[in-house]
């Protein structure tokens, strides 16, 4: 079986999982760049000394700047409606940096439950850009669990995009275990019909001088539902913490439903924390203004929605990926049903 899943103009190291299982052939063809180790694990035996069991572990040795991004694709094509589970670990060594694109991609049309467990450790002075997307059919459920441990002066940029699938649960748990950790955690969900999406973000400022910024935005059409829970904990001695959180939602119909729950627990006194949550409709004045310039109502709405969504996408550092996402979002907002039938990754079997 051969897959050539590609994001246009993106020059990436490609790693393929097949129904959640690490594709041994793919690893044989994979020539990891210097400083990148892919360590497969047998069966479900613990991969490393951590509690997390994983199919494999990606390890970046210290002081390695991985120039090209790594793209991990989990291709799902079970004939039966099965549970597909995969887990992996990433350890970015001291002073190293990596960009990782992680996609779950279904090529069948059956009701799968896809479980993804990702465990990330960022050693001191390391950085990771982690982009999580999926292109799964609209019957399937995705449970996505990400746990991050950040050491001193480490930097995380995390993006999660939700454009299709039936039920999407995305849980992220980030611990600042040392000082000066820095995180941008962002997400975008564009939902319609009866899609259901649940984000639970938990960010623990356990140590001083940390900075975190959460930005999650969603557009809901038809009778889609979204639930956002954002926890921010600031420990007593985690002084000089800066923690921002924002969840903004656009509802296009009366039947769409959003619940947003920010939880801030702050025990330190010298901190800068803020949170905001909005649920609203498209700006009537902006819509009218656009129409007086000759832009028909439908296009004007798309333009405004795109601008709303782009607030997240513009922060994607990998240009080919950003362009790809921009295009995807445009198509999605124009009402195109993006499923594996018109496979957006242009996967060729």
């Amino acid at each position: 079986m051969k897959f050539t899943c590609k994001i246009k103009n993106l020059d990436a190291y490609l790693l393929i999982l097949h129904n959640g299982v690490f594709d041994q052939k793919s690893i044989r063809h994979f020539a990891p760049p210097k400083g990148v180790k892919i360590i497969p694990c047998r069966d479900t035996r613990p991969c490393v000394s951590t509690e997390n069991t994983g199919n494999f572990r990606i390890e970046i040795t210290p002081n390695t700047i991985v120039e090209k991004p790594l793209q991990l694709i989990n291709v799902i094509d079970t004939v039966e409606p099965l549970d597909v589970v995969h887990a992996f670990e990433i350890v970015v060594g001291q002073g190293s940096s990596l960009s990782l694109i992680h996609c779950d991609e279904s090529m069948n049309n059956v009701k799968n439950t896809i479980q993804t467990n990702v465990s990330i450790e960022l050693k001191s002075h390391s950085s990771l850009q982690y982009y999580n997307l999926q292109n799964i059919n609209n019957h399937s459920t995705l449970n996505n669990q990400t746990e991050v441990k950040q050491h001193e002066h480490s930097r995380l940029i995390s993006h999660t995009y939700t454009l299709n699938g039936k039920i999407l649960n995305k849980h992220q748990h980030i611990d600042f275990t040392e000082e000066y950790a820095n995180s941008d955690v962002q997400g975008l969900y564009l939902l319609d019909k009866n899609q259901d999406c649940f984000h639970r973000i938990r960010l623990n400022h356990n140590q001083p001088n940390g900075r975190s910024n959460q930005l999650f935005k969603g557009i809901l059409d038809d009778s889609a539902r979204a639930h956002f829970e954002g926890y921010v904990f600031v420990e007593k001695h985690a002084q000089k913490t800066e923690a921002l959180q924002n969840n903004k939602n656009l509802l296009l119909t009366d039947k769409a439903n959003v619940q947003t729950h920010p939880f801030l627990e702050i025990y330190a006194d010298d901190v800068k924390c803020s949170h905001g949550a909005t649920i609203g409709q498209l700006d009537e004045d902006a819509l009218f203004y656009s129409r007086t310039r000759g832009i028909p109502e439908k296009q004007a709405k798309t333009l405004l929605m795109y601008a709303f969504a782009h607030d997240v996408v513009r922060n994607v550092h990998l240009e080919p990926l950003r362009e790809y996402l921009e295009n995807l979002i445009k198509r999605r907002l124009n009402g195109e049903n993006i499923t594996c039938e018109n496979c957006v990754f242009s996967c060729v079997r």
């Binding site: 656009s290 129409r291 007086t292 310039r293 795109y306």
Partner: protein, 246 residues
């Protein structure tokens, strides 16, 4: 070109336009002056097609077409442009993208193909010059974080891009410093052609030194109560509105 007859319009229960008449022909420049709250901006909004104003009586025709049969965007594509007193900020939409969509949608309405990108860019550059809008501004989101004066310049820039037949400029001069006023007025004058027309709504006779009107109308309490030539503006400056009210 534009014929308004006995126009009455409400917002909620409140009547704001109370039997307004106006005739604008191709090649003409009209000025509308009048005290605050008289309904000048309401008139512009009704011509644009804002749904929250309900027309209860009267008619508006534009080049033979009944405006009430046309949607907001169709009116724009027919050649009506409104320069707003309070231009709206649209975060995340670049001026270039906004204008490109507008230009191409208007072209589509007229049965033309989209403008080739290079042609569009050349046009952007050329029109930016007319109002001395810098590249820096043009690269930003529509009106976002613009100063009052920059917003007004941006309105004239958009007008230049869209080449309307009829432009209604609602207090485009207010909030402008003396240089910006000259720039905006020059912009309007440069865009003047025998086959288009301009209506400027203003409080200041000063603007009319730059944009010389063929007609000056005084609006009061939802109606045009007096029409004259440019000397009417001077007379008004001299005597104030009490002269009209009495």
């Amino acid at each position: 070109m534009l014929t308004i007859k006995n126009l009455h319009a409400n917002i909620g229960e409140k009547e704001i336009l109370k039997g307004l008449n106006l005739q604008v022909n191709a090649g003409e420049v009209h000025a509308i002056m009048g005290p605050n709250g008289t309904g000048k901006s309401t008139l512009a909004s009704v011509v644009a097609g804002r749904e929250k104003f309900i027309v209860t009586q009267g008619s508006i025709t534009f080049n033979g077409k009944n405006l009430f049969d046309l949607s907001v965007e169709e009116r724009a594509a027919e050649g009506i442009f409104i320069g707003f007193q309070y231009p709206v900020e649209i975060p995340g939409v670049s001026i270039a993208n906004f204008m490109r969509t507008a230009v191409n949608e208007q072209r589509r309405y007229r049965g033309l193909d989209p403008m080739p990108i290079f042609e569009f860019q050349a046009m952007m550059e050329e029109k930016q010059k007319i109002v001395e809008l810098t590249d820096k501004l043009a690269g930003r989101s529509v009106n976002e974080g613009f100063s009052g004066g920059e917003k007004k310049k941006n309105e004239i820039f958009q007008m230049a891009m869209l080449e309307p037949k009829l432009a209604i400029l609602d207090e485009t001069d207010s909030g402008l410093d003396i240089d910006a006023l000259r720039i905006v007025a020059n912009g309007v004058n440069k865009l003047k052609r025998p086959d288009n027309a301009t209506v400027v709504i203003t409080h200041y006779q000063r603007l009319l030194d730059y944009i010389v009107p063929d007609f000056v109308h005084i609006m009061y309490d939802g109606k045009i109560v007096k029409t004259g030539d440019k000397t009417l503006a001077l007379e008004l400056e001299d005597k104030g509105y009490d002269w009209i009210k009495s």
